[in-house]
């Protein structure tokens, strides 16, 4: 598409400023099941989002039909959209920052140069090695998923930024059975360096997660000391990330409203949004508004320091944007609870009676970032005198997320990021309400 023509026509129609956001993705997905290629998907797509200021309001449109014939549709849609908006919020098309921090290694050409066959072979190997770990493993879905993502932002104020990232995830989903009970486990590695995919490690860990859980039963209801494992903690944090968005605060749907400077968790806890994390496709030097991204500790030693902002929310609060303006709203980049000092095994061995919660289910439904209350299906292990006694399942764990952060007694050193680029180390928590079978 001829963007100069688009910009010129927009000006003719009294669109004050206009910005285009072009995304081009190529993807490869491979899955092996029962020694056969279960899935092989390749794709090549391009999408265009356009926003423009008309009469003080921001109009938007998006399309996958990208050619010069679409220019009139784009301009008409931007105007129609802007005309119907009655929010009084000030809107911006940004001219750019003077400095953008360079982030190295976001795109690794070598990953794309590894041929499809080698990637398929890796997944075959992964399935085979996982099956070989234990006789009780009934089935393994091994997968490899790779994406190359190109972004370009251009606007009528002269901004022209682009980035290219690539990333892949290799992992296994394991089903184990002992005849009477069936359990699942998952493990994966995400990177853009092909040699990082340590398949022996993934196979071992994925298999262990499924087999260790065999024979899991419920427990007696009550309050238990809990070690919330890294992945489970990350999934719970993911359900509450919106609390840290200035948009939620300004909409009055964040529990953290008015709490900047207050203690919101134990001193042990720091929560970071890091756009410069290595090998993460979420990393980058600018956001969708063209603002330079920043590393920030939103919670520092238990104290709330601020919120994630885009240009609009920043203006309202009279602060600067934090470079979190993504997809017309606010999103985190790489968001995590900073790792602490405690070794995971030590956190377990110092527990008299308690639970390890290794998995939480239904976080999209059983949590509320408005109230912070959660009630979730969980599974894990019962610990007595510092030793794992047996696996547990079919329990629910309930509480309030802010109360949980205040009840953290130890932060482990085992930070793990999930698929949504939200991460946590394992956390030891004084007490959580567990509902079991009696």
């Amino acid at each position: 598409m001829n963007f100069d023509l688009l910009f010129a026509k927009a000006k003719e129609k009294n669109i004050q400023d206009i910005q285009v956001h072009v995304v081009a993705d190529t993807k490869l997905d491979i899955e092996i099941l029962k020694g056969e290629l279960e899935e092989y998907t390749i794709s090549d797509t391009k999408g265009l989002s356009v926003k423009g200021i008309y009469d003080g309001k921001m109009g938007t449109v998006s399309t996958e039909v990208i050619n010069d014939e679409e220019i009139d549709f784009i301009i008409d849609s931007v105007i129609a959209s802007a005309k119907n908006i009655d929010s009084e919020d000030e809107v911006f098309i940004y001219g750019g920052d003077s400095i953008y921090q360079e982030v190295e290694g976001l795109y690794n050409k070598e990953l794309e140069q590894v041929d499809a066959k080698s990637k398929i072979d890796l997944v075959f190997d992964l399935e085979k090695k996982t099956l070989a770990q234990d006789k009780r493993i009934k089935m393994v879905q091994a997968f490899y998923s790779e994406v190359t993502h190109k972004v370009r932002i251009m606007n009528s104020k002269g901004l022209d930024l682009s980035k290219e990232v690539n990333s892949a995830t290799a992992g296994v989903y394991v089903i184990a059975t002992d005849g009477s009970d069936q359990r699942t486990g998952i493990d994966y590695i995400q990177s853009n360096v092909f040699s990082d995919f340590a398949i022996d490690e993934i196979a071992k860990e994925g298999a262990k997660r499924a087999t260790d859980a065999l024979g899991a039963k419920s427990i007696k209801s009550g309050d238990y000391e809990v070690v919330l494992e890294n992945k489970a903690s990350a999934s719970l944090l993911a359900a509450h990330v919106n609390m840290f968005s200035a948009e939620s605060v300004q909409k009055d749907v964040s529990l953290l409203k008015g709490k900047v400077g207050d203690k919101v968790s134990k001193e042990l806890i720091s929560i970071v949004d890091d756009p410069f994390m290595e090998k993460s496709p979420r990393s980058g030097s600018f956001d969708d508004e063209g603002v330079a991204t920043k590393y920030k500790e939103l919670v520092k030693d238990g104290k709330l320091t601020g919120f994630m902002h885009n240009l609009k929310t920043a203006k309202k609060d009279e602060v600067g944007s934090t470079g979190n303006g993504f997809r017309n709203g606010i999103s985190s980049t790489n968001f995590y609870i900073a790792p602490g000092q405690t070794d995971f095994n030590k956190a377990i061995s110092s527990m008299k009676k308690g639970l390890i919660i290794s998995d939480l289910q239904g976080t999209h439904a059983g949590t509320s970032s408005v109230s912070g209350d959660f009630s979730l299906q969980a599974s894990g292990y019962l610990v007595e005198e510092g030793k794992i006694v047996r696996p547990i399942s079919l329990i629910t764990v309930a509480g309030n997320y802010l109360e949980l952060l205040k009840d953290v007694t130890e932060v482990c050193s085992d930070l793990k990021m999930n698929f949504g680029y939200i991460g946590s180390p394992s956390l030891k928590i004084k007490s959580l309400a567990i509902a079991g079978n009696e």
């Binding site: 290629l37 129609a80 009630s375 979730l376 299906q377 399942s393 629910t396 764990v397």
Partner: protein, 464 residues
């Protein structure tokens, strides 16, 4: 959208190696959405989607690719790349494309594209006003409007060629009630396979908005739910999400065919209480999950999944039918051209029984009445499910007592189905979005009021 000749060429190119089946899915979709917050229109957006998906298979093994390009050279290259997954040289095979079939079961009176955005915005304003006026404790309301027209063309190497148009619209209202100590949200999101007539002929916008506020207000004063095992009465309508998650997904060929479902190999066996008959029906006129054809180009149909507690049929797509050596039930669905189709639900519900709502409540001495279910999920391999309850009350001495919040129901689908001990006569369906292997698709859930003799309720208080 693509010339017949080009479609044929692409399907033939995909068969130049050892593959025995090829399929093309062309999608052209226009979507409009608008949202309101704090009584202000915040966002209005038009979106155009256009893309093409090509699937190539040998037996039940398949590969898939997609692109936004409609250029002949790009499409032929994609077809050829995919064909390379089935090495072996073949003579050129001709594809004879049949007449293009069209469906017309679901009538649309007013195409959304013909309605000015202003009229759509007016709905937001009406819903916002009604939701706020419902009660003083409602101090935030979010309303979202969405409509789309999805045109698809599906053709395969067997010569089947269909065109279908899916028009859907939905209005979603979230009301937040708050006092000094608590905030609670109520949600209601009616939708259907309709054009703009949905808002005059089918639903009352004000009533829909008030329902969201009613739930938020009730839950504001609710105490924490107790925990432990107890009888649970699950109300009609969205209560059917429990069947959808706990059993429906495990009856899809996607999990049955590879033997990952707890119901694999159980056709003809009792898997539910004799009171349970469950149906998946993609033909219900203008229902949210209906269509004329599935996304593999087969006519939609009605499937009796469970008959009087006995497993009758699975939901099966084309390739899984080969894999399972079972009957194809025309259940292939996908969100868009970005997904290969697989077996999915349409409008899935437990059929009417004989008890009245009053009989079910009055015969329950102590338990939980789950009036509005929230969302949930299930692990198809273990059948473990979890659901949040949006609006719940205790049942004491056969009467509905105080409201309780934060309840979660957990259990296994196989177990819960066997423990259904009362089924009401007030079947109702409600709308949801279902996420799975082939993306997020519209589905109806539904049931009459049912009672499960025992479910584990997870709350924050000890049972009393």
């Amino acid at each position: 959208m693509l010339e017949r000749k080009l479609i044929t060429k692409v399907l033939e190119e995909a068969l130049t190696t050892n593959a025995d089946f090829s399929e093309i899915f062309i999608e052209d979709k226009s979507q409009a959405s608008a949202s309101m917050l704090s009584s202000k229109v915040e966002r209005v957006n038009n979106a155009k989607t256009f893309g093409i998906g090509i699937r190539v298979a040998k037996g039940f093994h398949s590969v898939y690719g997609y692109t936004n390009s409609r250029e002949e050279s790009d499409l032929l290259k994609l077809a050829n790349d995919l064909a390379q997954s089935f090495p072996g040289s073949q003579e050129k095979r001709n594809v004879e494309l049949g007449e293009m079939k069209k469906g017309s079961k679901h009538k649309i009176k007013i195409l959304p594209a013909s309605v000015d955005m202003k009229e759509k915005i007016a709905l937001l304003k009406r819903a916002d006003k009604a939701a706020r006026e419902y009660s003083d404790v409602i101090n935030q309301v979010m309303v979202n409007y969405q409509d789309y027209e999805q045109k698809v063309w599906i053709a395969n190497s067997e010569g089947n060629y269909v065109h279908d148009v899916r028009v859907r619209t939905r209005l979603a209202i979230a009301s937040v009630a708050s006092n000094e100590t608590s905030k609670q949200q109520g949600f209601n999101g009616p939708g259907g396979f309709y054009g703009f007539e949905f808002y005059t002929d089918v639903i009352n916008v004000e009533e829909a908005a008030k329902e969201a506020s009613r739930i938020a207000e009730v839950m504001l004063t609710a105490d924490h739910a107790p925990s432990g095992k107890m009888p649970v009465v699950i109300d009609n309508g969205f209560g059917g999400v429990i069947f959808h998650e706990a059993c429906g997904h495990s009856l899809e060929a996607t999990s049955v065919a590879p033997g990952m479902s707890v119901f694999s190999g159980k056709k003809g066996e009792r898997i539910a209480s004799p009171l349970v008959t469950a149906i998946d029906d993609g033909t219900i006129e203008n229902a949210w999950g209906s269509a004329n054809f599935d996304d593999e180009g087969h006519p939609q149909k009605r499937r009796v999944l469970i008959k009087d507690g006995i497993l009758n049929t699975f939901m099966v797509d084309k390739l899984n039918a080969i894999r399972m050596n079972d009957e194809l039930t025309n259940s292939g669905r996908r969100e868009s051209y970005r997904y290969a189709p697989t077996s999915r639900m349409t409008n899935t519900y437990i059929d009417n029984g004989e008890s009245t709502f009053e009989e079910i409540i009055s015969s329950t001495e102590y338990g939980l009445y789950a009036k509005k279910m929230g969302g949930g999920s299930v692990n198809p391999a273990t059948g473990d499910f979890n659901f949040s309850v949006g609006e719940a009350y205790m049942i004491r001495d056969g009467k509905i007592a105080e409201p309780v919040k934060g309840a979660t129901l957990i259990g296994t689908g196989a177990d819960a189905l066997l423990k259904v001990d009362m089924v009401g006569n007030n079947l109702l369906r409600a709308q949801g979005m279902c996420g799975s292997a082939s993306g997020s698709i519209p589905t109806d859930v539904g049931q009459p009021t049912i009672r499960v003799s025992e479910i584990t309720v997870g709350g924050r208080k000890a049972a009393n």
